[in-house]
Homo-oligomer: 238 residues x 6
């Protein structure tokens, strides 16, 4: 089975980034959550998809003037038109949100082209408009200035860092209301399956805690709690 | 009279953190507001209660693995089960939100156990869930990764720093929509009473300013304004 | 024609800060957007007006005690009572939000006096109250402590820096849901007119992109797109 | 007696900034040491003198071009020619060392004009040259770019912040190998005298500690230690 | 054999912190080097010894006044008199160097008492004096103000964080001209032995590279290079 | 004439980075000096040469283990063996000095291979050894940990950012005791020539200022000063 397919995607759509980071931590991965960013549209759907990347380096005044966008090979514009449907557009902006990584028109275009979401460790412009799209967009802060002021688009779909997390093209990027986690492609199925099971278990624990149970003995569970979990699972049909 | 009792608590429930910091400043306290954190659930009730603390130091890979939670003496878990009802659980996370200070299950357990709120100078995980509880939780940023990645729980209920503010167990911790202030226990009654009176006065000033009054002569008040305030106070019955 | 009048103001009320920064960038201005601040009341009206400034330096314990506010020449208080209607009150707090730049009463007073908005690169106190006013207020973070703890008010209406952006008294300050941009007074009309036209064009592009158009050929536009834009403009009557 | 004269200066030349901050702390001053800067020329003489200030705001591209230096009223150039002999030139660069506050030629000119030293919370350029002058210069980091890139000189000899410390023109600025402390003018004599005495006492303590004494009983001193100190003082003639 | 004795100490005295971090990394330890600090006296001897710790929390104005030092139980003073000879005094200053962690007299006393060195993630005062002692002292920046301004000494010899590195009392702390590394006590012998061997090997590689050798085949070594290394080792008698 | 040859190199060897940034600023370049780094060996020769680059992204635990260095295609090792003589090895470490960009052996190898210098916006390890080489090495801070802990080497000789400055392979990189400036290749000759002339002029100004001249009229020069400069130039034969 491939490491990522529709079944894996469906599972990941129902798992929190918190649970995913724990499954990754158990395999030795400590640096998979992109710190310092948040979602613009809290009502957007969950975000799951393979990474398609854009790399910025710092701008240079002679290279980054307003006419560069006339070039269809400009990596930002080219990337927006080439990012495959279902993919997440991930931008390395060197954690600099003093100018925008992209704006409302390009984000809308990505949405229309069927992208699964967009992530930058910098900022977006036109955020009041982006906030109205049913499209998950994650950034560090609103940033009105055009990218040309600070960012020079140099590459598409190469390995990058985003918020100090390594992102390789094709890695599975998952976002929820908490933030964004990056899963190495080859582990996506394994992580999705384990985290899916863990989610069921934690839902059981939530139920118990809401009923007044102590966390001792159930989180983590002792043998008795595991039995009770099995019964609960049969009862709720999960 | 004890420095903190139900009457003091009731007064503090109606006073803003802004007014409290001024009363503390008049007594020479300049560093009582925890900067850099915000409330997750804006609809949660006010938070007032004595501090119960948890201290983290940086994690170490050989000590902080997933099985540590099986130990009922693990300070994070033990603290959550021991924090007395009515207390505020305050965590020293060294202002590091790259991994979580606690997650949804533990916060729910604290809520069920009757804690008054939870504060960290790091971040929480499962924040979409925490945001739905009628429970005040303050942090710096959402942080999906398990605490084990960055934080080693070492002590409960010792003096700590939280967001550069000193917090001693038993200090009175007050939170509103603006943030969190820490009052030395022995001053709680005195501060509550002065700030309560100041709140009544500032409500009068607001009324005046909304009616179009200049701030000169009323904020701070001249003798005439004080007379007018007395009349207003009798009229509104406060 | 003067660089700023009611007509310019009306145009600026309908233009995004993103579009304004691009018009300024074309004239060589790279540093006009105040990074690191956000609006408190998302439902407030747009903010447009000339800058009236307040300058803080760091506080000194012997000078900044609670009785300074009795002095009607205290620059913060004097500024609030002198800022002309229609102006934006802009505060240089040296990007330090560990104490407040101003609080709810003063902000309400400014609102009542007809100011167009208030901006600090520090923080405000009483933010839950400020958030209920129909008045745009921009800051870095809520900050309960009185300004006296960290800020010494020293001057009104002198050139300042606010969030690393130069602000001269009279510069035109524009704020929307994204943030705040500062336009040199002498350029206000020229920028407003160009950005107004650009806004119309970008609305056309949005329409096209929502309909499924590629950005190539329309953003920036080729001759064919320009023709189509002219037709659209006549059709929608803009 | 005036708060500052040659006698006060002579005393301050022999007192460490550490000892001065303690004398200031005893009077309630907590914020007098400029953090984050260091001396360029470790072999320069001590620095003592009244503050003469320069205030920068952020640069603006249309105002800050290479020809501004032709104007003899340009505040940076004017300040360098006007700063009185014996004074310390203190620059508010908003803690931004991405462009220079001044360079080798201006620093040399200040030295030749008899200034006592120069301090910025930004950076200097031509630091290899400045490092060879017998002249104390304090900054945050070397910074080759001309000030025009980031700093707009706006005022001379107004109150400023330097490294988060308030500096009023005429305040007494003292620098040693550790850093720079700012003493309110009216306290200069009182602080100098107390700190001078404290320096004698701490020299005695050093002697004792080097001989193997515990700090208990001597630092702070018990009555016996005070007697011993009196004897030591007579013996060494201080 | 105990994990630390004179033989282990002697080995560690000749190994660089760089080589130690690699040996620790091979065992899964990624966070053992204290970033952001440097040595004051570059001519001081190497530093090797078990950690003795001091923990600060933020200061509180009513608790941290000048007379606290009269109390022989004050943790800073007590720690300086109790730290065993051969130990390294390690201070948790929460990475805050706006006030001193300790000063010249206490550092001299530690030196006279036979301590192996002193480390803070804050700053020291009296650094010109400390820089003349033949004693390794590591800090982030010189800081003239007394600790009372920012730091409240609360505990000695408890687990702490220092510069984001966990430090348990008794851990072996090693410092060279590059910085400071913390080795869990139980691993000290094992790490010392492996790193000692690695140091011999890297000296061989240096020799080869200085002679003009490529790094390919020798760093890491292929079988031929290992043979050559054996020969070299016999020749130089190591 | 090519933009860079031995004559250009010779000129650049005698020009300060300060003077170069001004020549670049006159052509609209504001961002050419790499902030936040310094030279390790103050006695090393000046550094001039074309950039050869190495790009790091954040490390990933499964990819960055100790055995990767056995691969001769590992970009760090390959880069060190391929960087042409006379070139400057410039590393994009994302301004992260929590692990090393390179160490003493590789830097020595580069030196032996005839490189002109090495620059990172992170840190080097084995800095006490590097400090003894007659080879310019610039970094942010010493960093003992192996690069594998934080950095994954991904590319050689692609455009990068280094300390927020864009660096394209072949750009001319110049370093002196103040820091490092990056000159776009096509401008190298033009900048070198203008800055060379400016250096002669500023040497004249230094002479004048040392003799006691005001800066007014000579810096910038009025016509009389230009005449005097011409005379001086003939006299000193430059």
């Amino acid at each position: 089975m491939p490491p990522y397919d529709e079944g894996v995607r469906a599972k990941l759509m129902s798992i929190s980034t918190a649970t995913l980071t724990t499954a990754l931590f158990k395999r030795g991965f400590r640096n998979t959550f992109i710190c310092g960013i948040s979602i613009i549209n809290a009502n957007a759907p969950r975000m799951v998809g393979p990474a398609y990347t854009l790399r910025y380096i710092p701008a240079r005044e002679d290279l980054d003037h307003i006419r560069v966008f006339e070039d269809r090979e400009h990596p930002q514009r080219k990337g927006v038109e080439e990012c495959p449907p279902g993919h997440v557009f991930v931008i390395d902006s060197r954690k600099d949100h003093s100018a925008a990584s992209a704006g409302g028109i390009l984000v809308t275009r990505l949405f229309k082209r069927g992208a699964a979401g967009i992530v930058t460790d910098g900022g977006f412009r036109d955020t009041p408009d982006i906030g109205k799209l049913p499209f998950p967009a994650y950034h560090a802060a609103p940033s009105a200035p055009t990218n040309l002021i600070r960012h020079h688009a140099i590459d598409v779909n190469v390995p990058i860092g985003c918020g100090d997390v390594p992102v390789f093209p094709g890695d599975i990027v998952v976002g929820d209301g908490e933030g964004v986690v990056v899963i190495p492609l080859y582990l996506a199925r394994e992580i999705a399956e384990e985290a899916f099971e863990q989610t069921v278990f934690e839902d059981f624990v939530y139920d118990k805690v809401v009923e007044g149970s102590s966390i001792f003995g159930i989180y983590p569970p002792d043998p008795e709690a595991l039995q009770e979990f099995d019964a609960w699972r049969r009862k709720v049909g999960r």
